[in-house]
């Protein structure tokens, strides 16, 4: 087949439809990646405008520019937008765009899931911004501590906007985390064993893993706070056995890993770009992989260092201090590896390199002030002053924004296919670099002079006037710099000359394709033998375009790519990926309806949207699959592999595994909350416990057993009945429990039961789906992938059911 004919065939299969249909239905990873990046930048601009307003307010003493109510919304929204609507989606977008290309795949593992994530992000972000324009933005700080954020002190919907909007956006983060993990583990080039994987993939594997375990505590905390606000269940109210400290634990259990979730992708970009700029290879690959893994784990052991002044015993504080100190070691390992890489290479001062130098300087200063703050006596002085604000901006802007700008300039030719024009980018760099340091270096000094954070105005006599004015001038310089970056990018798209392939002479696979990349990335898929495929064969891209690699055909109109064995990278099956679809946007719209109904307090309407989501999910799942056995198909090189219709462990199976990991983490956090309140909160034990009975628990245990047997023996009706029995047992137990609004005991018990009911009901629906699918001819001896997936969910529901029964029934029996 000629290269051109191959291109036309593949394009017809993979293309995004023209016009509005394409915008609404596309699931292609390049589209999703670009949309995430553009949207994240728009939110960055909005967050930046808020920062400008803050600086305008603080530029002069006794400013009457905005009042305290508006000012509180300004800094809350600035922080929330930059964290949740800019930083996370920005690296998700970059990763979605790059990862399949770097790994030698044609798309992400679960394309429709990333489309769902995109719409949830867009709708959730829009809700938050619209609320801000309507003047009801969250105003209790980006960490939303109760009781300030509770019903008593924030009676309006401001806190609800944060809780519901951010949780809606978190759905997209969870989708991305699952998507990225499965893609890295399964959809790689043939021969790409784990140790031949590009270093960026290691960083993203760790990041996505951290998201799977880091976000659920925040999601749980938000659900509990929203339920408390909406229905009066007292999770955080001490008079009724709750505790505001529970929120702090759940929030920082997410919040500290979050810092590394943001830093790791940026560090991944540094580790990828730096060796190319220094015309050498990355030093100490193994040590960096070890450092990444160490960071991913250790960063979970520090959350309490945000709660040092909450009266936690000193010994526990000591644990967290020690872990906080430890986490500096892997960071240092990376920095030394980067310096060594620069040392052994011949650095080329191109624009991405300039931003990397900016990153080094700013990030190191941020690290040093971090060490200053880790000294307890110094922290006692600087706590809650502008010094801390300055420190965190050095870390976050240094550790994220500068590397992302380097990444932008490094990968822009890939996206636009064009060269830069003029030297606008260099001018923008200097404006941003000088403006940033002017703003925030001076803020260290203002902080040392005693200026607190989050104040909206200050009297002249304090002597902070000049420093503040200069900080504000710096902030505006920086804003001009970012505006220049936008102008530079637009100029490049409009006027840039077409670029040759691989302009930086990089060695990773994303440059083994024409730029801008075709929708299917590779006309045929590479077989790799080392970590630097393009160094082994600089003409690899041409050979692949000619069809010399694997899967060089457009048979049957399927979107095909190769799934490999996780460790060795040996091809395992041909993954057939789903095409463009309405389901993601429709599902996201119904989820949006649910969140809006909750926001409006229409608690009767909200369940209607849940039913709609379930119905859409059913149709969505129904649209997959096939009614005939396909058998092994040839992939080239004389090899044949089964398709994912007949594979044992599909990407969908692995996606379910990680989704359940996330859900199990949320469940564990909920159990932690239950035990935490029981041991730490005031006003316990509760006035009444769940009355001991035998029938309810027995029914539940029998149901769980039936579900386990049913899922293993293929008796779907038995599995369905078992799951329904678990639901019934939970209702039984709840009927015997004290009212959820009377005491935190009743509230947490109800929440535990709700978790079990949710999963059992979901598993029951899945069994019903299986029964219908088997009747419709979608199953055969070979095609039993759906059964395997349902077994995972059914087993999890059974296990959760038994755990909840034990947690609810035991206290009553023991008392």
């Amino acid at each position: 087949m000629s290269a051109l004919k191959l291109h036309y065939q593949l394009h017809a299969i993979w293309r995004t439809e023209p016009g509005w249909r394409g915008h609404l239905r596309s699931v292609n990873h390049s589209d999703m990646g670009k949309r995430f990046i553009v949207a994240a930048f728009v939110f960055f601009a909005i967050g930046g405008v808020l920062a400008m307003l803050i600086r305008a307010q603080l530029a002069t003493p006794r400013s009457a520019f905005v009042g305290p109510e508006v000012y509180n919304q300004l800094f809350t929204m600035h922080g929330s937008i930059m964290m949740f609507l800019f930083a996370i989606p920005m690296f998700e977008g970059l990763t979605m765009y790059l990862l399949p290309k770097m790994l030698g795949s044609r798309d992400l593992a679960l394309p429709r899931l990333s489309a769902l994530g995109w719409w949830c992000y867009l709708f959730g972000g829009t809700i938050i911004i619209v609320a801000m324009l309507a003047g009801v933005a969250p105003d209790a700080g980006w960490f939303l501590y109760p009781p300030l954020s509770g019903k008593t002190y924030t009676p309006g919907i401001n806190s609800d906007v944060w809780l519901l909007g951010i949780t809606f956006v978190e759905i997209s983060a969870m989708c991305a985390a699952i998507e990225i993990t499965v893609t890295i583990l399964k959809l790689r080039a043939a021969g790409m064993s784990l140790d031949k994987m590009p270093i960026f993939a290691w960083y993203m594997l760790a990041t996505a893993g951290m998201m799977v375990f880091g976000f659920p505590p925040l999601i749980l905390g938000s659900i509990l706070l929203e339920v408390e606000r909406a229905f009066g269940w007292p999770f955080y109210t001490p008079e009724l056995g709750g505790s505001p400290l529970l929120w702090q634990h759940l929030f920082w259990l997410f919040g500290h890993p979050e810092v590394y979730i943001i830093f790791l992708p940026a560090a991944g970009a540094v580790s990828t770009i730096l060796p190319v700029m220094a015309r050498t290879r990355l030093l100490a690959h193994g040590a960096i992989v070890a450092a990444i893994m160490a960071l991913a784990f250790l960063s979970f052991g520090l959350w309490v260092h945000h709660m040092f002044t909450t009266g936690i015993p000193h010994m526990a504080l000591g644990f967290f201090s020690a872990a906080s100190a430890l986490v500096a070691v892997p960071t240092a390992v990376q920095v030394f590896a980067w310096i060594g890489t620069l040392w052994q290479g011949r650095p080329d001062l191109k624009l991405p390199m300039l931003y990397l130098i900016g990153f080094f300087i700013v990030f190191v200063i941020g690290g040093l002030t971090g060490v200053m703050l880790a000294m307890v006596p110094f922290d006692a002085q600087a706590h809650d002053t502008a010094f801390v604000t300055a420190h965190l901006h050095y870390v976050l802007v240094g550790g994220f924004v500068f590397p992302m700008l380097a990444a932008a300039y490094y990968w822009l030719p890939h996206i636009t296919g064009r060269e830069r024009v003029l030297q606008v980018g260099e001018a923008a760099f200097w404006l941003i670099f000088i403006g940033f340091n002017m703003t925030f270096f001076l803020m260290h000094l203002t902080g040392l002079l005693g200026m607190p954070r989050r104040i909206d105005t200050y009297p002249e006599e304090m002597g902070w006037t000049w420093l503040n004015l200069l900080s504000s001038v710096g902030a505006f310089l920086q804003a001009f710099g970012f505006a220049l970056v936008v102008i530079d990018v637009l100029l490049q798209i409009r006027l840039g000359r077409m670029h040759r392939r691989n302009p930086w002479r990089a060695t990773t696979l994303e440059w083994a394709m024409p730029i801008p990349s075709p929708t299917y990335n590779f006309a045929s898929l590479p077989v790799v033998a080392s970590r630097d495929p393009l160094a082994d064969d600089p003409d690899l891209g041409v050979a692949l375009a000619r069809g010399d690699g694997l899967l060089a055909n457009g048979r049957s109109g399927w979107r095909e790519t190769i799934a490999v064995d996780m460790t060795s990278g040996t091809p395992e099956h041909v993954a057939i990926l789903p095409g463009n679809s309405w389901w993601p946007i429709l599902t996201a719209a119904m989820l949006g309806g649910f969140f809006l109904a909750m926001l409006a307090g229409l608690y009767v309407v909200a369940p209607v949207f849940v039913v709609a989501v379930v119905g859409l999910g059913w149709c969505w799942a129904w649209s997959n699959g096939i009614r005939i056995d396909v058998g092994p198909v040839p992939i080239g090189n004389g090899l044949s592999l089964p398709t994912s219709f007949e594979a044992v462990r599909t990407t969908g199976w692995w996606g379910s595994v990680f989704a359940l990991c996330a859900s199990a983490t949320l469940f564990t956090a909920l159990i932690f909350g239950y035990v935490f309140l029981w041991t730490i909160a005031p006003n316990w034990p509760p006035p009444a416990l769940i009355a001991p009975s035998l029938a309810g628990p027995l029914l539940g245990v029998a149901g769980a057993a039936a579900a386990v047997v049913g899922s293993r023996s293929g008796r779907r009706t038995l599995g369905l009945a078992g799951q329904l029995a678990i639901v019934a047992a939970m209702v039984w137990l709840l009927a015997a429990a004290p009212s959820p609004s009377s005491h935190a005991y009743g509230a947490t018990s109800a929440m535990l039961a709700a978790y079990a009911i949710f999963h059992a009901a979901l598993a029951a629906i899945m069994y019903a789906f299986l029964i219908a699918r088997a009747r419709a001819g979608f199953h055969s001896q070979a095609r039993d992938g759906e059964t395997r997936i349902v077994r995972l969910w059914s087993d999890h529901a059974a296990g959760a059911g038994i755990a909840v029964i034990a947690l609810l029934a035991l206290p009553g029996w023991l008392a």
């Binding site: 140790d195 690959h285 070890a290 784990f297 052991g301 201090s321 035990v675 935490f676 041991t679």
Partner: protein, 97 residues
């Protein structure tokens, strides 16, 4: 999956130790356990954790064929070091003050 588990094994050891010891500490202080017995319980928990992570580190060190195996072994020792360092306060700080 096995390689990933080996890479994580040392640090999973530390994570489990961290959760158990932090929980033990919380329960002990909340339940106002007898001070000296509580201190011993904490020391024993720490000792068991060190022994367990040491075992993991030794087990990982026996197999060093590929670069990732060596990284896994190094991470095993990191897990042990983290388990020793993080809980030093048990030896030197009063438990519930």
């Amino acid at each position: 999956m096995r390689v990933l588990l080996r890479l994580s094994a040392g640090l999973i050891g530390w994570t489990v130790a961290f959760c158990l010891i932090y929980a033990l500490h919380g329960l002990g202080c909340a339940g106002a356990w007898d001070a000296s017995r509580f201190r011993w319980a904490m020391l024993v928990a720490w000792g068991i954790s060190i022994a367990a992570t040491l075992g993991v580190a030794l087990w990982l060190t026996r197999r060093r064929r590929t670069g990732l195996d060596r990284a896994a072994a190094a991470l095993g020792w990191v897990g042990l070091a983290a388990t020793i360092i993080t809980f030093i306060p048990i030896a030197i700080v009063p438990a519930c003050a």
